[in-house]
């Protein structure tokens, strides 16, 4: 029985009928650089007018960012400096880590290995330890570890895919550490997919010139996170769950020296003092930029950029947002959820309502997403769902035809299971997909040691900008969090050995209030948001306005 409504059957039949032709055909060639630029300018959401404004205060004043990001930046703190007693220090540690996804957990492990005792590290996490986008990565993690590949080729793919806006020293760190990240995870006990000869099973992703995507079925992030989490607990490193930072604390030497914490359940504020503070809070998908549905975790509310900016950190590349080409467009219950790029890596083609292939299936994400938007809204070749969404078919049954029967169940256990729960068997029927808000390309500026412009503040993972330029390639965020998480752990440990903390201060919050006043920003907004708002009818909202 089909999981799709009767009226879509005619279109599905066309997909089935054209499959043999598409399988034997030569497909569609990748676009030229000029074609890519044209389609991005015309159809990518980043280029849509009136969706951004310039930040009106602070060190990155005038930078264009989505309204939703400007809103959280141009907000009041949740606390007043006069309300917090900084003389009453609740937690006094060497290293404070804010955010417990892959970056934060690995920072803790490496700080510990570099001489910081387990009880001198404190990780705070506003949800459960390990609950983060890190766990949701499906397709894989890139590392150039095969004979025909090299970190230099990886570098070229990353910087070209990012439209040359990336910070070179961060790309260098990313590609150079990549093989060691794989080695490290294997030594901890991560089960990567292997071929029968014992070598890594690796595939291509959009914009990669070699096969270098390592995976753990399509639970790559889950497997990597849970092993690092298991190890974190084995080492006895300090952590508190359901506790979030709400603002950083500075000291009399203009260093970051900890954070004001909020117990999410008791609503008490606590003071944490630290010699090194690592911000690893992740991205902003739950801000629903331009009304887009998102693949992101419940906690992805962009808290880190707000806290860092109030303390004076420099931001970059936040004008650019990643929309993943293949978010679920049907059924309604899972709209926006990720259909991994690995599906295309294994041969699934994007096909329009007439069963026609209309774009090379492994363009970079921004180009691929733009072409789906064009196909639906300029060419009117999308399939319209009962709730009025447009989508194009991702022809998943091709995967078993190309790679052998059973491949989908074996390599795409999560996709198969999650769609099956809502009545769609992706081995037999295609998925209906549309671009979905996926990744915060920009963020806090760091150097290769993860240092920011403020002494004492280190950042790692999606909260940072510069690694991926204006567009990230598949498998490079799962890599990013461990490359820079581990580097942050090392930098935090090195710093903790050599510094003393001055008198604690929240004067930067008063300064920020002055900036807001001087810029004539009158608002009730408070940030960080900590949790998205879905109560009542908000849970049903779709306000997507594409063109």
């Amino acid at each position: 029985m089909s999981g799709y409504p009767e009226y879509m059957q005619e279109s599905i039949t066309k997909v089935v009928e054209s499959r043999a032709r598409r399988l034997s055909g030569t497909g569609i060639k990748p676009m030229t650089a000029e074609e890519r630029q044209q389609i991005l300018e015309k159809f990518h959401p980043d280029w849509k007018p009136n969706m951004k404004r310039s930040i009106s205060i602070g060190p990155s004043k005038e930078m264009m960012v989505p309204h939703e990001v400007a809103d959280i930046i141009e907000s009041h703190s949740r606390i007043k400096s006069s309300e917090i007693d900084l003389n009453n220090v609740d937690y006094d540690v060497d290293v404070l880590i804010i955010g417990g996804g892959g970056a934060g957990l690995s920072a803790g492990l490496i700080a510990n290995e570099n001489g910081v005792p387990a009880d001198s590290i404190l990780l705070v996490q506003k949800l459960r330890l390990g609950d983060a986008n890190s766990k949701m990565a499906q397709g894989g993690i890139q590392a150039a570890d095969r004979e025909e590949d090299s970190p230099a080729l990886h570098y070229l793919d990353v910087i070209g895919g990012g439209h040359y806006a990336n910070k070179p020293e961060l790309v260098e760190a990313l590609v150079r550490d990549a093989p060691d990240v794989i080695r490290w995870h294997e030594s901890l006990g991560v089960m990567f997919d292997k071929k029968s000869d014992g070598t890594m099973l690796e595939i291509a992703g959009g914009g990669t010139s070699r096969v270098r995507m390592h995976s753990c079925k399509d639970y790559t992030g889950l497997e990597m996170t849970r092993v690092v989490l298991d190890e974190f607990i084995n080492r006895g490193i300090g952590y508190i769950e359901f506790t979030s930072a709400v603002d950083l604390i500075m000291d009399s030497k203009d260093q970051v020296a900890g954070a004001v914490l909020l117990d999410m359940e008791t609503e008490e504020y606590k003071v944490a003092r630290a010699k090194s503070t690592v911000l690893s809070t992740g991205g902003f998908g739950r801000l629903h930029i331009q009304g887009y549905a998102t693949t992101n975790h419940y906690g992805a509310t962009g808290d880190g950029i707000v806290m860092a900016y109030r303390a004076g950190a420099i931001l970059r590349d936040l004008d650019s947002t990643q929309y993943h080409p293949t978010g679920a467009a049907f059924p309604e219950q899972i709209v926006g959820q990720l259909a991994t790029e690995k599906l295309r890596g294994r041969g699934a083609q994007p096909v329009n309502k007439n069963g026609e292939l209309f774009v090379y299936h492994l363009e970079t994400r921004d180009v691929e997403a733009s072409s789906y938007i064009r196909e639906c809204f300029e060419r009117d070749n999308g399939v319209i769902t009962p709730t009025g969404m447009h989508g194009i078919w991702l022809d998943t049954p091709m995967i078993d035809v190309i790679n052998g029967s059973g491949t989908i169940e074996r390599e795409f256990a999560a996709m198969y299971r999650n769609f099956n729960k809502f009545g769609i068997d992706i081995r037999k029927e295609p998925m209906l997909v549309f671009p979905t808000l996926h990744y915060q390309n920009g963020g806090v500026e760091i150097n290769a040691k993860t240092e920011t412009n403020i002494p004492g503040l280190l950042c790692a993972g999606e909260v940072c900008g510069g690694v991926h330029g204006k567009n990230r390639l598949m498998g490079n965020s799962q890599l990013d969090i461990y490359v820079f998480g581990r580097r942050a752990g090392k930098s935090a440990a090195d710093r903790a050995k050599n510094v003393t903390v001055g008198k604690l201060s929240l004067a930067h919050l008063d300064r920020y209030e002055r900036w807001l006043k001087e810029a004539n920003i009158k608002t009730d907004r408070k940030a960080p948001l900590l949790l998205p708002e879905y109560r009542g009818k908000k849970t049903l909202e779709h306000k997507l306005n594409i063109l």
Binding site: A152, T199, I233, Y298, Q337, N418, L540
Partner: protein, 227 residues
């Protein structure tokens, strides 16, 4: 889709009328709650939203992930956002890859009654009992394989009459399997050595300072070898 149709559910006993096509998670939000616990990835990958329900008039107690289950009329629902399970701590570098390790850290696995309640309660449809039994036999590879899709929601542990925490055993098995049975991958180790020796340094340094026009040209004309 059930356009406009509403159903009645009971959130921890409290009656709520919600759209029939919502997941349990969205239905609870529709009813006015904001999750602090009990919500995570919202996509079936994290296990934060373990829930149990009975339908009115039925004796059956069923488990589900709130983000993956559509509400049904008459559901009486509660979430189990936390389950008290102590993970044993160990040094992964000092373990033996055989049955003795499971028995040392989790001796209670021998209490398994083979009743299959764990398997029936798993929202991921994992053969939980089979991997617990495999662990008792010391079959690390099978324990690792069968438990691989576990997201640690805790429902199996809450229902086990022998008070076993299956997912802790699965986690231990997978780490043993990767570290000791499969071992490190040679070509990864080789590449790490080459990076350390500086084999790629000059090539990367060149790219880092390359004129943008030349770099762009190099990128646009790079050879794709992805078959």
């Amino acid at each position: 889709m059930n356009e406009g149709k509403m159903v009645t559910i009971y959130v921890m006993g409290k009656k709520q009328i919600v759209p029939a096509d919502l997941t349990i998670m969205k239905a609870i939000e529709y009813a006015g709650y904001q999750f602090k616990r009990g919500a995570g990835c919202r996509g079936g990958f994290c296990g934060a939203c373990a829930s149990v329900y009975r339908k009115r008039g039925s004796y059956k107690l069923q488990g589900a992930l709130a983000c993956q289950k559509i509400v049904e009329d008459g559901m009486i629902i509660t979430q189990i956002p936390f389950s008290p399970n102590e993970k044993k701590t160990y040094n992964i570098n000092e373990l033996k890859a055989d049955a003795s390790t499971f028995l040392e850290y989790y001796p209670e696995i021998t209490r398994c009654l083979a009743c299959n309640t764990c398997t029936k309660s798993c929202p991921q449809d994992i053969m939980v009992m089979d991997y617990v039994q495999a662990a008792i036999r010391g079959d690390i590879a099978l324990t690792a394989k069968l438990s691989f899709d576990c997201i640690g929601c805790g429902l199996c542990a809450m229902r086990c009459p022998a008070e076993i925490v299956p997912f802790n055993i699965g986690q231990l098995a997978r780490r043993l399997e990767s570290k000791y049975v499969e071992g490190p991958t040679e070509h990864v180790l080789k590449r790490c050595e080459e990076v350390k020796e500086g084999k790629f340094d000059s090539e990367i340094s060149e790219l880092m300072i390359m004129d943008k026009k030349i770099l762009t040209n190099k990128y646009n004309n790079r050879e794709l070898r992805i078959k």
